[in-house]
């Protein structure tokens, strides 16, 4: 028969485990909805203005001290295929043939989400959403699990797989250290000869975007991409064609990515609270009056 003392010991062991792992449960619940920092900065991108000169790519390369590109920045043959961000390029411009002769260009970089999926999926908290709106990365704690690359709905973070000793996530940080922290626009925005991008408070840019749509009837699709997508992003886009024609995912949800995970996270505290009592109780019921057969004594495996 199970000794009362042993049973209590068992309960204690469960309790300790529950306490150890409880951290995950309680904090998971604390993840509420987040409207964004009030003075968060952002960029409004007007796709109708971009001519595909790639000077933003060059400026980013210089500002972030990235390695030489394989092809020079004035080589337009890169538009033959759709590119994505890599460890050597935090921003790339792609060309989209829309309608008969019309061509649009879209610059890709980190959109600096209000509730970033990379941040909420990171188990060492390597990402920070600063009050200026930048999503920055702490290379000192990154373990290299690459969950952020799995989670990012825009497929932005790249990884320096080639480094044996210090591989890191490589992505646009909104020129935070060198510019945005001091209120200056990022390098790509500043260099653009076409004023494709407008740097400012996100709240103001949302207003500016809608004003521009209203002031030019028929020119733009009546939507500001990034105002709502995945909980809102600091970078937002105006386009003359449906957004899925220029490579955006038209099925992208408006809720932050973390909202998909909450079904599971909400279940965690329940298991931690109920399971120990439930299974210890079942044990008592299942083993009661069974010839006292719960032999912890030496020799039960004989």
């Amino acid at each position: 028969m199970i000794e009362r003392r042993d049973f209590l010991k068992g309960c204690l062991a469960c309790g300790v485990t529950a306490a150890t792992v409880g951290v995950a449960g309680t904090n998971a619940l604390a993840a509420g909805s987040f409207e964004g920092y009030p003075d968060s900065m952002g960029v409004l991108v007007d796709l109708t203005r971009c001519v595909g000169c790639r000077s933003c790519e060059a400026a980013c390369n210089a500002e972030q001290k990235l390695p030489e590109p394989d092809l020079p920045f004035d080589d337009m043959s890169v538009f033959k295929e759709k590119r994505r961000t890599t460890e050597k390029a935090y921003t790339v411009v792609n060309q989209y043939k829309v309608a008969d002769k019309e061509t649009l260009f879209r610059k890709i970089q980190c959109n600096h989400c209000t509730e970033p999926a990379c941040l909420s999926s990171c188990f060492v908290n390597a990402y920070t959403k600063t009050k200026e709106g930048a999503v920055i990365y702490n290379a000192k704690v990154c373990v290299g699990c690459r969950n952020c690359m799995i989670a990012c709905p825009f497929n932005i973070p790249a990884y320096s797989y080639s480094s044996a000793l210090n591989p890191l996530v490589k992505k646009c940080i909104f020129c935070y250290d060198t510019r945005v922290k001091d209120g200056k626009p990022p390098a790509c925005v500043e260099i653009c000869p076409q004023q494709v991008m407008t740097f400012g408070r996100r709240a103001d840019l949302i207003k500016l975007g809608h004003d521009r749509i209203q002031a030019n009837p028929g020119k733009y699709v009546d939507k500001l991409f990034g105002e709502k997508a995945v909980g809102g992003t600091s970078w937002m886009y105006l386009s003359s064609v449906d957004f899925d024609k220029v490579g955006f995912d038209k099925n992208m949800q408006n809720e932050p990515i973390i909202s998909n995970v909450k079904d599971f996270l909400g279940f965690v505290p329940m298991v931690l609270a109920i399971w120990p009592a439930l299974f210890s109780g079942v044990h008592l019921l299942a083993t009661k009056n069974k010839d006292g057969h719960h032999d912890h004594e030496e020799g039960d495996h004989q």
Partner: protein
């Protein structure tokens, strides 16, 4: 070893206290490691096993590739998979091996919590299967991490407690230690440290219940990790409400069927190591496990269908991905269910074993579908892992098999460790190093499989 035992049926296997004339002197550690053979004998049985030559070839190719991965970096082995950041090491090694290792907590629960002592002969195999599966899942993970030496960061350096992976890391680490404790009873018996064994036995219930909590949560959490990628995993394999249930529920038949498969392999290839209790009760036990597995499978099938209905995704079934989904369900779940239930009804152990194989293949296929095959399905191409990645995965899995075998050969998992001399009262004392003497009477305890 099987061949060797057939040729030398009188070899005294280490399975207990020493039982020759030299009563009282325990086996030395070296004798235990060499199973009571001389090193020459041990070597000769090892080279006569063709499987060892297969492993030798795999290691000759694979070990240098593994070393290369750490010297030249990840890209040397896996390329630069930016969009499909998780490849075989996690898709197969972590997500595939962990569900097949749920046997530890299930058999622990059945025996220690529900009092199903009839399952005791196979409990230890279930626990060991759990421990080794988790251990090698972590070893796979260490090969995948960019900076594996920082694996302890989520515990001690920087906490990201809102992340599912944070929960997985803590749970797997905690559960691994729980499993080490649970399996250590066999190790303590083998080493001859009864005090350690007694201590663990007293903690058995607490450890088991801790195992249930940790397993429920992290098996589910491995599925919840894919809910971070709603647009990337194909809708047929994605459901924010059910994802963790798919993973948790399918791990139940997965773990039980893995024990059926492993115990079948063990009894066929190392019968000499299994004692009579194990061998005689095995068909009954496997049927019992198969009953549990088919309950799990029918639940799993139901929620897979409810998940599709819940988000009204039936239209996807008419696409190519739909056909692939139907194959996964048809082969991994329906066929397994038919085989297992037919086997149970007709008491046909062969059908049960076939059903166990299709079940574990179905579970692995599901994990590969979620994290590799359908991942980024909208990009229109499937990411095929490069050759070196495949070589490393095969090598690590081979190390897993070799480790598994080495432990089954030695620790009292498939047999009971005899601690009382009285149990040998009926046996004639035999010389310890009798190797060439022809067998007069095969000794039942030491080599029950000589036939």
């Amino acid at each position: 070893m099987k061949l060797f035992m057939a040729r030398n049926p009188n070899t005294p296997m280490v399975n207990s206290l020493r039982k020759d004339n030299d009563k009282g002197r325990p086996w030395t550690l070296m004798e235990k490691i060499f199973l009571g053979l001389t090193p020459q004998q041990y070597l000769s049985q090892a080279v006569s096993n063709p499987l060892n030559w297969v492993f030798a070839v795999i290691f000759a190719v694979g070990i240098p590739v593994i070393i290369g991965r750490f010297i030249f970096g990840l890209s040397w082995a896996v390329g630069d998979p930016y969009d499909n950041a998780w490849g075989l090491f996690l898709g197969f090694g972590l997500f595939g091996m962990v569900p097949l290792s749920s046997s530890g907590f299930q058999l622990g629960t059945a025996v220690e919590v529900f009092g199903r002592h009839d399952l005791e002969p196979i409990e230890r195999l279930g626990l060991l299967n759990g421990l080794l599966g988790y251990l090698f899942a972590v070893i796979f993970l260490l090969h995948d991490l960019g900076q594996p030496w920082r694996l302890i960061y989520p515990m001690f350096v920087s906490w990201g407690p809102e992340a599912v992976l944070f929960l997985v890391a803590w749970h797997v680490a905690t559960y691994l230690s729980v499993q080490v404790a649970e399996v250590s009873t066999s190790f303590f018996e083998w080493m001859g440290w009864p005090a350690g064994r007694t201590m663990i036995k007293k903690m058995a219930l607490g450890l088991t219940v801790a195992g249930i909590i940790l397993s429920t949560l992290h098996q589910g959490a491995l599925g919840a990790l894919s809910t971070y990628a709603p647009g990337k995993v194909h809708p047929l394999w994605y459901s924010s409400a059910f994802q963790w249930l798919y993973f948790f529920v399918s791990s139940l038949p997965g773990g039980l069927c893995m024990v059926i498969v492993v115990s079948t392999i063990a009894v066929k290839t190392m019968g000499w190591r299994c004692d009579d209790t194990f061998k005689n009760s095995l068909p009954k036990l496997q049927i019992a496990l198969a009953k549990g597995a088919s309950m799990g499978l029918i639940t799993y099938l139901t929620i897979r269908l409810i998940g599709i209905a819940h988000d009204n995704k039936w239209a996807y079934l008419a696409t190519g991905w739909g056909a692939w989904w139907l194959f996964e369900i048809g082969f991994g779940v329906l066929l397994s269910l038919v085989l297992l239930t037919a086997g149970i009804r007709r008491n046909n152990i062969t059908l049960v074993r076939m059903g166990a194989w299709t079940t574990i293949l179905g579970v692995i296929l599901h994990r590969l579908n979620v994290y590799m095959i359908t991942f980024n399905w909208q990009q229109g191409h499937i990411h095929v892992p490069p050759l070196k990645e495949i070589i490393i995965a095969v090598t690590i899995y081979s190390i897993y098999i070799v480790t598994y075998r080495a432990i089954l050969y030695r620790w009292p998992i498939l047999f009971k460790w005899k601690t009382r001399y009285s149990e040998y009262a009926v046996l004639e004392p035999k010389p310890a190093a009798a190797t060439t003497a022809p067998a007069v009477l095969p000794e039942p305890e030491a080599c029950p499989s000589a036939k």
